[in-house]
Symmetry: C2
Subunit: 265 residues, 2 copies
């Protein structure tokens, strides 16, 4: 692999380029992005050159789609015509079923494998990119692919191979549900609550600082799973509410602490 093209040089695309370099990649990295992002990425040495999609795609051995989901979908539609036969295409979109279905229809000359690095920040943009962003974090690939598996391992992420539907079902619980809880909590706390706010309320409303821009597409492409996760959560919370002063709460806390420990392993 001699040439990688990052489409969408923001937090994730920029971090992938930096991680690739840090892992020893000596080839060429081109970027397809807004002129502001290209300028900043060039200034930080994250990419070697900014190019239009057709030119970048025609040169690349690997194309990494790191735009928001809706933009990934429209990029897939125009991408195939620009590819050299056999070019590997992957993405970093936060849901996988809709993207993988679209790629199956759109990508014929190249090979598409969906991806999702479980890393992020409340702040976006290439200015926030870090070589270490994916280290120790799960990196999901939607099917086996030796070239991509090697990269995921080289950038020190935790390789997970999982079908798109299973990915979308699980991230509804681990990522989309936490976001909605944080957003709902931030607007439930009365304004005067700030006078007594400690670390609990600050930690639990950190995700509420996130921009809606990427969430719109996540909600529209994973609505049924998110609704099911919300239903499950609300039922759990109502069950705790009904037993607030019941000795059974001790066992609930123990069970929750054990589950929280597992999420940290």
């Amino acid at each position: 692999m001699n040439s990688v093209c990052i489409v969408g040089v923001g937090l994730i695309g920029g971090s992938f380029a930096l991680a690739l370099r840090a892992s020893g990649f000596k080839g060429r990295i081109t970027g397809v992005s807004s002129s502001g992002a290209i300028r900043e990425a060039l200034a930080r040495g994250i990419i070697d050159e900014g190019l239009p999609l057709a030119d970048a795609a025609a040169q690349a051995d690997l194309i990494y789609l790191a735009r928001p989901i809706d933009a990934i979908l429209s990029t897939l539609d125009e991408l195939d015509a620009c590819l050299r036969p056999g070019t590997l295409v992957t993405d970093a979109g936060s849901t996988k079923s809709v993207i993988c279905s679209r790629a199956a229809k759109s990508i014929h000359r190249g090979k598409f494998v969906g991806g999702h690095p479980m890393a992020g920040k409340e702040s976006r943009g290439v200015a926030e990119a870090e070589a270490s962003l994916f280290q120790g974090r799960p990196y999901i690939l939607t099917e086996a692919c030796p070239e991509l598996e090697a990269i995921v391992t080289q950038i020190r992420a935790k390789l997970v191979i999982m079908p798109p539907e299973e990915h979308d079902r699980l991230v509804a619980f681990t990522s989309h549900l936490p976001q909605l809880l944080s957003t709902a909590l931030a607007t439930t706390i009365p304004a005067e609550g700030a006078r007594v706010a400690g670390p609990a309320s600050q930690d639990m409303t950190r995700l509420a600082l996130s921009s809606y821009e990427i969430w719109r597409d996540i909600f529209s492409t994973n609505a049924a799973n998110i609704d099911a996760a919300l239903a499950g959560f609300i039922a759990r919370l109502e069950s705790l509410r009904a037993r607030l002063n019941d000795p059974a709460m001790a066992a609930e806390f123990d069970r929750a602490a054990a589950a929280a420990q597992v999420l940290r392993k």
Copy 2:
């Protein structure tokens, strides 16, 4: 003020003693606690001496009750008989109405002012005590009290004077609700979710690591406020759920981000 007695030398009591020393207090600090906690507190130089309650109380100018709420309530009942007239008594219990009512009935020879430092960790015990635990955090006093106000300022906490009922209403939203959300989330995420767990699910289940021991008393002494906070939260979450793919979500995210920023000021 020459002598301070810490009743319950754990994370909070130990941190208060360390913060007091760090702020320049030169007097004597005694501790009333389990023999294990006393041994550790002496070894770390957190207290000068461990004593039984009656002996410690008879010598102290300030008594700092840092046990769990239920233990604070029973300490209040036996404390008055041991006090020199005019001794100042305060506490660090997580709810204030029940404690302040009990103190009004129990403490006659001394003067009681309720307190609550908005600081904590998932881990408990004097081994976790830190001089800086309260720095920059709200420290609520339930009424004006020049001696305690001076200490709160000296240990670099943010002084907030607020009646017990208002405190309990607000912490139901800022502290008790976040705890229950985290506990409910940890047991809603399916076990296989650990394979794709990123920072969102880890941050949002951090509070679920907390021990039930202090929460039992919080739930029993603030049940009505917690129930109201839960009702408000569930209504907000159901409202987001119903509008998941509605453009109005953009405004919800903006409102939540602004509220989350206010909690950080």
